[in-house]
Each structure stands twice: as structure tokens, then as C-alpha cells.
Amino acid sequence: MLTLSGLTKTYPNGVQALRGVSLTIGHGLFGLLGPNGAGKSTLMRTIATLQQADEGTITFDGEDVTKNPGALRGKLGYLPQQFGVYPRIPALQLLDHIAVLKGVADRRRRAEQIDALLYLTNLWDVRKRAVSTFSGGMRQRFGIAQALLGDPRLIIVDEPTAGLDPEERNRFHNLLSEIGENVVVLLSTHIVEDVSDLCPRMAVLAGGRVLVEGKPADLIAGLAGRVWQKTVPKQSIDAYRASHDVISTHLYGGQTRIHMLADAPPDDASAPVVPDLEDVYFSVLAAQRTEAGSPAC
């Protein structure tokens, strides 16, 4: 059980990355959805003990992480959003090195686990190649492998599927949901599909705040009957934005299709649609933008 309460973080340049984030996250996959610059990575790094919050506390399984980060690190599997590796060191050797640093003492079991992970992440054939020569997807799978070393009770994966092809992404999703049965998995992403595919619970983070939290199905249910779709000419989008609650615009076959939020049909040409998670996400973001008074873009 991971509990965040009142986390705030302001960078020296004045950017407020976190503004009082509180969440309670149990076993299973938890999706953290948000646009670029929402504070996701700051939050992930803060939970991963790599950054300090200005205020607020993090507890994991009843233990205060802020006071004793070392204890959490022993139970942590962390895949940063971006990472590099030492040049000229083979995957096998680097995994072994990280496993030792993680405290996996038993040499034989360490070797077995590394072999299993290499196989699982489809890196078995290239295990003796330097990680620095890996392609983007291979490198990402290596990152996943290292996050699973040891006995992680909390797994934090920051934008894990970036750069993976659909097949790899599938494998990865299967893997995560398998592992997620017994541990806390925190998955940050800006891809709505990842969350809808995988996560029993989720939250949307934007502007350093948790805008909404819950089960995807509940959130979708909350929009039932309130989302309308219409195909409009490009030039009139701004006019619709001014007069309606436009939550998203898509290009569809060269034409612009907009989704609007309303309790009743906004006009005759609008057709009701069955809301999905994307509508939830965009409606929340749109609401937040209106609140902040910032122009929609």
C-alpha cells in the first residue's frame, strides 16, 4: 500500500511541479495519466526517492519513505523515463551489477533470475552485446528487466511503452499485469490506451494536481450520455470552442470531428457517442484549463 499525502514541489525557477498530491494506491496496476509537463515524472522520481518533495509524506507498507529512503529502495523497481547506460558493458554483466547493488546476494539465484528476465524481455540472444549498442526498443526492454531484478514490491515505470512497437508493447503489458497481481505497480503515461488496457485504477495528473481518481469504468460511466460528436468545418472550430464545451477535436478522413460535453444535445447535428476513457481524460483536462483560465490550444 503506497500512500501519498500533500506532496508539493516548487523548482528553484518557480515552476510548481506538484501542488498537493494525495493518492492511495493498493496492489495492482495504477495508471497515472497526464499531458507533458503535468508533473508526472517529478512525482515518479519523488516516489522513487530520487527527489525530495518540499512538503508532504510518502509511506509504503506503513513505513515513512521520506525519513528512510533506503528501506524503500530495497523494495523498488524503477524504470526512468529516459536512461542511458555505461558504454561497452554487455547486458548480462550490467544486469548482474545492478542486481548486486540491489542486494541480491545469492549468486546462483541471481544468475537464474537474470536469465529468466533476459528471456522474458526477449534479450536472451543479445545478452552479451553492449547495451549501448541496443536499439530503442531493446533498450527499453532492458530497462524493464532491470526494474524487475530482486524482489520489487513497488514498481514504478515512467512512460514505459515509448518507442516500443505494438507487439513489444503487448508483451510488456502482459508482463506488467502478471506481476502486478501481488505488488504495487505505478505506471505513468500520456497514452490513454495504456491505462484503459491495463489499469484497474487510475488518476489524471495535470498542473501538479490530481484532477480525478478512480476506476476507469466508473469514470467512463460518469460521462454516459453527456458526450456529443459533430463533424464541423475547420474554420468554425474556434466558434464552437467559444460557445460549447469542446473536449477534443480529431481529424477523421480529412474532416474535423469534435466531441462536446453537454447534458442535452448542443444542436441538431450532434450525435451522442458512447464515452471512452479518452473522453474522460480530455474532459478533465478541458475543465482544468477553463478553471485556470488559460486559453485552450
Partner: protein
Amino acid sequence: MLIDIVRFEWRYHTRQISFAAATLLFFGFGFALTAAGFGPANVNVNSPYDIAQTLGTISLAGVFAMAVFCANAVVRDREYQLEEIVFSTSVGKFHCLFGRFAGSFLAAFTAFSASALGMMIAALIPFQDHARIGPFSVAPYLWALLVIVLPGMLVAGVTLFGIATLTRSMIASVVGAVAIYVFYFVAAAFTNSPLMAGSNPGAANASAAALLDPFGLSAFFDQTRYWTPITRNTRLISLTGTFLLNRVLWLAFAAITWTFVYRRFSFRLLTEPKRQAADTIGDSAPSSPYEPVAVSLTPRTQWRSFMAATTLEVRTVLGSIPFILLTLLWTGLAFAEIVADVAGGEYGAAFYPSTGFILGTLRQPFSLVASIIIIYYGAEIVWRERAAGIAEMLNATPAANAVFVFSKWIALSAMTIVLMAGGVIAGVLVQWTRDYHQFEPGVALSFSWVMCAPVIVFAMAAIVIQTLIPNKYAGMLVVLIIAVMLQGGSLTGLEHPLLRFGATPPVQYSAMNGFGHFAAPFNWFIAFWATVGALLLFVAAASWRRVRGDRVLRNSAHSDRRLAAVLVAAVLLTGGFIFYNTNVLNHYESSASALDWRADYETTYEPVASLRQPRIAAIRANVALYPQERRYQIDGRYDLVNNTTEPLGKVLVSVRRGLRVEAMLLAQARLVASDIRFGMYAFQLDMPLTPGQRLTLQFSIVCDNNGFKATGPDNSIVANGSFIIAQRDLPSVGYRKSYEIRNPSQRKNHGLPLKPEEDAAADVDLDGEWIDLDVTLSTVPSQIALSPGHLDKEWTANGRRFFHYRSERPIHNAVVFSSARYETASTTAGPVKIHLFYDPAHRVNASRILKAASDSLQQFEETFGPYPNRELNIAEAPSYWSFGGLAMPGLIFLSESRAFSIDARDPSRLDLITRRTAHEVAHQWWGHDVAPADAPGATAIVESLTKYSELLALEKTSGRAAVRRSLSYELDRYLAGRTDDKQPEVPLARVTNQDYLFYGKGAIVMRALDDLIGRPALTRALRSFVAEQAGPGHSATFDDLMRNVLSVAPAADQPLINEWMRDVVLYDLQVTSATSRRLPDGRFEVTMTIAAHKSRVNPNGLETALPLAESIAIGVFESDPDNAGDDATLHLGHHLLHEGANSITVLVSRQPAFAAIDPYLTRLDRNRSDNVRKVAQQ
């Protein structure tokens, strides 16, 4: 467009923190060097010469500024991954490359120029020594920046920019910077650059090698070598000759390099070749599925993490190509340095490349190179995870911060050890090439410890600073500052080694005594700094940048705190122990307060210096030496005699500082004052001592050497090789002139009057005091103790070995007691027995020394008169003492390093052992048989006549060519020495302690006399001088010598002799042409044009031309006169030469090759390189 790029680049660099730091650093360099009075002491600190030398020296450090700025200009795109963006813009290749180079070079050069500003300000500050300030002018600064600094920096800048452009790697540029240094040192090793220790004067290839120095310093020294202080103060270096050629050559090199780089550079990304599937392995897949494996977080697993991290770090740094290249470069540099030093003895002599010698040679360059590598790699290794992008992944593991910090320190230590091994390998290679096969592993190990330990401690500082400072380059600069403080901390006023991180007291090595008594203080200091460093590493671990954010997370667990407490206790204990030793057991004194002490002594006691004092007529003493405890006790008795003409009422006795006086009793006298600070004891006699009357002084003094000192130990009593100089270590009567400050500017600072002429060297008492000596020495049974006098008796009692020495007739009061584990060998010279006492390691030269002593003793007896003693003892002295040889009456000491370690196997080199031995044997006549009065000219009697004698011996054993080569060193010594003299040059008749005069000029002038009046006449004169002045009761003066010489000289020669002896004249002789023609009878007619000039140097340093009409030798040779045997001389005769061009024709019987004016150097010729000319055949 181009201007914009230059401007952008300039702005980019000048806004970096590294620019501000570098500017400050160079400003500080310039300020510190000038404020400390860098440069020759007789030249103004703001003279063109000093400015050029200072800026040239700092420009060596400028190379690293170039590496940072110029390399950064190209590397940063790759580092910040802007490469693809920049390369896809429309900027042209030339604009891009040239603009970036110009902008970054401008920034680097601007930062460097701050050093000139620092120098100017340092010259203007009020506490500067006004005697060394000339009129202020900006021109010499600008000129030096333009002609010396700028070309060298361009070469460095272009080279490093080129390397960076082609490799896009920062480390490659740093390797390049080190390579430039290596190249520089190799070039300097083969030239006369005063920057290199042990450079030998007069290397004939100097000007050729001066071309090789990219920084122009060697060419600068080449041009200014014989400039007098006046010239150095006024003349700018001129763009002529070798200097011009050097500058043009290197500018051309820069231009060519630039063009090459420009052509090779392409706007494409450097792609690492992708390795193909050769290494994909399709062996059996693992059987078991993934499942979690329990982790444990115990000290044991942390230790495993530490071992794993260490292995990875060490493997990474040692296996990196740049480091391997650096190690190879360093090994090459070390090899070159050792080769240069092995062959770099005085007079071109070679040394045996013993393990101690080669590693001693490497100490300085090693500490320099290793420090540079630590500065760079310290930054690299601390920032490596962040640069690679793997930091977050590792930081999220539970490994403790200390795991990262300490493993990185170990990696730096491993690099240091690898470098050391490279140096040792270079040394072994030199040993092999010189056919020397006595590698001593123990010595190599202790040298490695002494050389590596401070660097490894310094590496701790590098890690700590890089951890604490959030900018890599700013961190590098701070580490550099610490390194500079460590090397030259005394400039900053932090002299006590406890105040400078990593500093230790000096450590000297002696083949006889090993690291001996230097080892313990060194080890204590290293232990202290290692604990301080370990503590700092824990601080670094606590603030390891694992967690992003403004606050540093301190998560020290309890075990860390316990460890920290233990370390703090260890720091306090070792530091306290050291402080107790250096400042409680011993009196700590900074160099400034040591000078104050000497100044105060002079002010207090100089007024009574003129007080007439009785002289020592007899010394009786029991000298008990305890070498292992470094302790001795002397119970002695002096007979004092009043040899003045008036009664004496007051006696002053002086005891060296640091000695404990147990008893001090003067018969029939009262102790009226005892001044502990200066060790001065004043006695009032009950009854005045009438002329001729004697008095007894009884004393007991003890030297304890408790603990150790911060500034280095006293070396008089050591485990093996004790050397106690009576004049220094025994009580003396009267004022001690040797305490006076000699340096004129220091005298001025202390408000002491300047002395019109410097006092005679106080190391040798020239004022003939003749004594009866009767001493009993006791030492440990394994050692032999030596003293002047005849060994009456030797016995063992109470587990100690006793030696009783007694003078059989009064001897000159120059007494040294020594004790060491000597091996002995003997020979005879007629009735005289010669005993040699040497260290077993130096057996190889024993027979050569004995033969030289025997031959020269017999030759000098025949030439000058009988040797007064029954035996002559020759003993080895440890290298702590700077002399090459030191003569006592009947007892000669030769230095282990400057005599016993000489490799005289190569017959083409001057035999330094034979000449040094002959020199000291000659002192038995000049100095100890004839002991001159303490007056100007005395050193000419003692040393110039000894030089003459030594050359007689050398001529007999090695022939005329050896004399020619030997005298060319003496001429160089003279010419170089006169430019360094702080005061105007005096004639030989008034020489005091100017060694360039009494050795250099003395040797040439004595050979000139020999040539002018003939050897039989000159030796007759010297023989009668000895007969007249030898023994007690005489005190010869220079006039006595001149009287004897003039009495045998024809009247016509006397004005010239007087001119040589009592005036300062210089010659300029030159063979301007030489041709030969075969005559029908088979002989050859050689026609030569000789240009001859002569001038007098006035006391103000200016010269006036003199008329010339002298007979000077002209030689025609079949081969190079430097190596020609006497039989290769076709013609050697005197010809009358006049001012201007002289045409000379001689007939020779065989084909001539070389013509030479004054081939055996009898004239003080400012340029001897044009005295020999190849004969052109017609």
C-alpha cells in the same frame, strides 16, 4: 555571418563559470609569480626578461585552458545532443569551424591575458621589493604576449581544437594536452631550458633543439643566455635568429594543422560501427520462469555492492583507451626524462641508472602528471553515471552512497598505481639499455609508496570536491587550485604541512641510508591525511547527489555515524601526534621567522663581531655517536689562545640551534650571559688573557633529535651516513657570520645594511686556524667512524666501537666526523697509504677512485711539493649534503650521488670520478697546506689553483681533447654565472664566493697563464708559493700568489697577466674563413682569417673596446677537436693577433679538416661556437 558566429562563441564562453574561474586563476598565477619574485634575483620583476619568462612559464598551464575552451567549442554539440540540429543548419563549414575556433581561442586567450594584469598589479603593490622594480611600461607585457605566448597558444589551441573536431571527444583533447606537455618536456630535456632540473650547460645542440619548443621558452633562453642583468632589464626579446625561426615554424605548424583539420572535418555525425549479429548467441534458453528473488540489506551485501562497484569502476578506467594512451604517453615521457637525467651529470657525465636514481628522477614529473590525471578523471568518474544517463537507475537501488564514493576513489588510486608501474617499467627499460642489471624491488616499492601515497590522498580531495560542487568544470578548477597549493603552498603563506591538504615534510632518498629518518614523519602525515580524506569521503557520501533537489539528504545510518566518530578520533589522534612532534617536541619555524631569527642575530651580535677573540689551538673531544637513535654527545675541550697583540677580557661562545648544552665552562672566567635564543654564551675573564696565553673551554653538548620536524630533519646524525661538521655542530668562538642573510633583497626587507661585496662562503673556513686534534669517536660496532688525523687506536668496549684519531702535526681547522657501514679498500702512493671507505652498493667505482687518488697524489707531489700526512682517507658521504666532494686535511669526502654513482664506463665522456678525486686531492695543497687569509681573492687560491691542478691530472690521464671539453664547461659556467650575478662582476683578484669566477674563470685564466709563460715556469712559481706559505703561521693572500707568478714571468707578459687577474676582460675570437690547398710536395697550405676583439667590462657593466696584440694558439686538426686525439693535431702554434681581421697561413703535412682559434680555451670568449671551422678544400 562569420562575425556573428565568433561573437556567439565568445559570448557563450565568457558567460560560462569556467571563464570567470580561468580568468581568476591566471590572474592569480601572474600575481603570485611576480609577487614571489619569480625569475633571476638580479633582474627586475617587471623587466622584459622576467615578464617574458613568467608569461612563458604560465603559458604552459594555458594548454589546459585551451583544452577546456577550444575542445568544448566542438564537443558540446555532441555532449548536449545538438549535433544533428547544428549540422542540419545552413551554416557553412568554414564559418562554423573557423568561427567557433576563433571565438573560443579569443576567450581562452583573454582569460590567459589576465595573468599579465596580475603581474602588473603585483609589481605595483607597496610591499614589493623596490630594488627589483624598474620603470613601468605596458609594452614588454604586450610584446611577450604577442611573440612568446600567442604563437604557443595558437599551436596548442589549433592542435586541441583539431583533435576535438576530428574525434568529438573531450578526453581525446585532454590526452592531446598531455601529449603537448610530453613533447615539451622531451624537447626541454635535450635543451638548456632552466625549467628542466639537471639540464647541463653548453650542450652543443641547444639551438637546434630550441626550435622544437612550441612555447618558445627554450628559444627565449637560447637568445638571452648570456645577457647581463642590464640587458635583461632593458632589452625586449628580438624576433631574430633561432627565436624567429622557432616562432615562424610553429605558426606554420598551426596553419597546416588547421588546414588539415578543416579538410578532414565533415558535417556528418560520427557513427559507431554497428556490430552485426555475430555475437547473438542462440544457446539454450533458461528453463526456470521469472520469479522474485529475495534481497537482503546487510553490511555484507553492501560490501558486495562495494566490491562490484569497485571492480566495475577500476575495469572501466583502466580499460579505457584514453587512459591506456595516457599511460603509454607517460611511460614515454618517463623514459625520455630518465635518459636525459642519466646522461645529464656535470661535465656531461653519466650516472648509473640505479633504481633509486631513476625513480628519484621521476618524482617531480610523476606528481605533475598524476595530479593532472586525477584532476581530469576525478571529474570524469564522479560525473560518469550522470553523463551516461544511468544515474537514476543506480540511485534507486539500495546501495549505500559510500559504495559509489569509495569505489570511485579506489579507481583513481588504481590509475595512480598503473602510472607508477609505467614509470618503473620505463626505468627498467633504461637500465637494460644501459647494461645495468641490479633492479632493486624493495627500493622500487618504497619509492612507489612515497610517490603514490600523496597522489592517492589527493584523489580523495578530488572526489570530495567533485561531489560537493555542482559544476564539473568549476570542480576541476577547485581541484587544480588544491594541487597548486599542495605543490607550492609556501607561496600562499601556508607553510606548515598540516595546513595544506595532502602535504608532507620533504622526503629525501640516499642510497646509503634509504628513506631512513624521513620515512616515519612521511608515514604519519600520510596516515593523518588518509584519515582526514576518509572522513571527507564520508561527508561526500552523505551529500552524494543521489537525490535531486535543493536540500541535501543526510541519511547517515548509525553505523556510518559510529565510523565517522572513529575517523574523527583517528584524525585528532594522528593530527595531535604530528602537532606534538612538529610544534611541541620541536620548534616550528616558518621560513619568514627563520629569516627573522637570522636578522635578529645579526642586529644583536654584529656589533660585537669586531670584538677580538682568542682562537682555537687544540680540540680534544669524546664524540659518542648513536646512529640508530639519531643522537650524539660531544664532551670536549678547546685550548684557546690569544694570538692578538692585546689582552682579551671577554669571550663569546656560539652553539648551533637545536643542540642541548649540558656544560659550558671557561677556566678563570664567569658566564655573564647565556642567550638561549641564539645559543650565545658570554664569558668575562677574571684576569685579561695576555697575548700568547692559553685558556681552556670545556663543554658537553648533546644532539637529541626528538620526534620529527615539519620542515625536514637535521641530517648530521642518521642511521647510516652520519656527517657531523665541527664548524657547524661544535661550539665556535665569536660571532657566527654564517648566520647572516646573504640575499640582498631579503637583507633590505629586514632593514639590514647591504654589504658592498658578499662575504666569503661560510661553508669553508678560509681563515687559517691551525689546531692539534685529538678525538675519540665511538659508534655502533657495524660502522666505522672517521675523522681527520692519524688513527692511533681502534678497540671495542661495552658493545661499542672506538676510534682514536690524533693529528701528528697542526692541521688546518676543517674537521668532519662521519660514521657509516663502510666497506674498505686500500692502495699506496709512494709512502702514503690511501684508504677508501665506501658503501657496498658502490663497489664498482672503488678501484677507479683509488687509482685517481694515487696518480694525482704522486703527480701533485712532484709538481707542488710533498704531501704532509702519512695517509689519505677517502670516504663516501650521503646525498643529503649538496657537495660533490669535500676535502678535510688528510680526509676526503665524495658524494654518493655526485661521485660514487657516476657511470664512467663510457670512455667518450669526461671521467668525472677521476677529476673529482683529483680535485679533492689537490685541495690538500690548496686550502689545507696553503690556507689563505679570509680576504678577497682567497677562493681563487683555494679553488682556481685546484682547478688548474685537476686539469693537469686530467690532461695526463685523458689527453688535450678532454681538457678542451672540460674547459668549455668552465667557460659556459663563467658566462652563465656572470649573467646571474646580483652584483657587478669583480676581477679574479677580488673574488669571494662567486663560483663562476673561482671555478670557471679561474680555470681558464690559469690555463692561459700556463700557455703564456709555459708550464715549467708556472709550476715553479706555484712550488715556491707553497714552500713560502704552507703550514701554520702563514695566511697567504692573492698578492702573494701574484708575486710568485710575476717573478717567473717575462716583463713583456706582466701587463697581460695583471689584466687577467685584476681586471675583467672579454674576448671575441672567430675563424671567419679557412681554406686549404694541396701543395706540389704533398703538404697542405691552410689559410685562415681570424677576427679578434677584446673589451673591458667596467664596474657599471658597460664595455669598452681594448686594443689587442696577443699571441694566441691556433690549431689545425684532422678531426673534430672535441674528440681528436693528440696525434690528430696537425698544427698547434701561437700566432700574434691584432684587433680586427687577421690572415694566418700554415703548412701541414696531412689533409686538414678543422681549423680552430684558441682550441684549448685560454681566453674568455663570449661565443666559442664560432672558434672552430671546417676547412674548405680548394
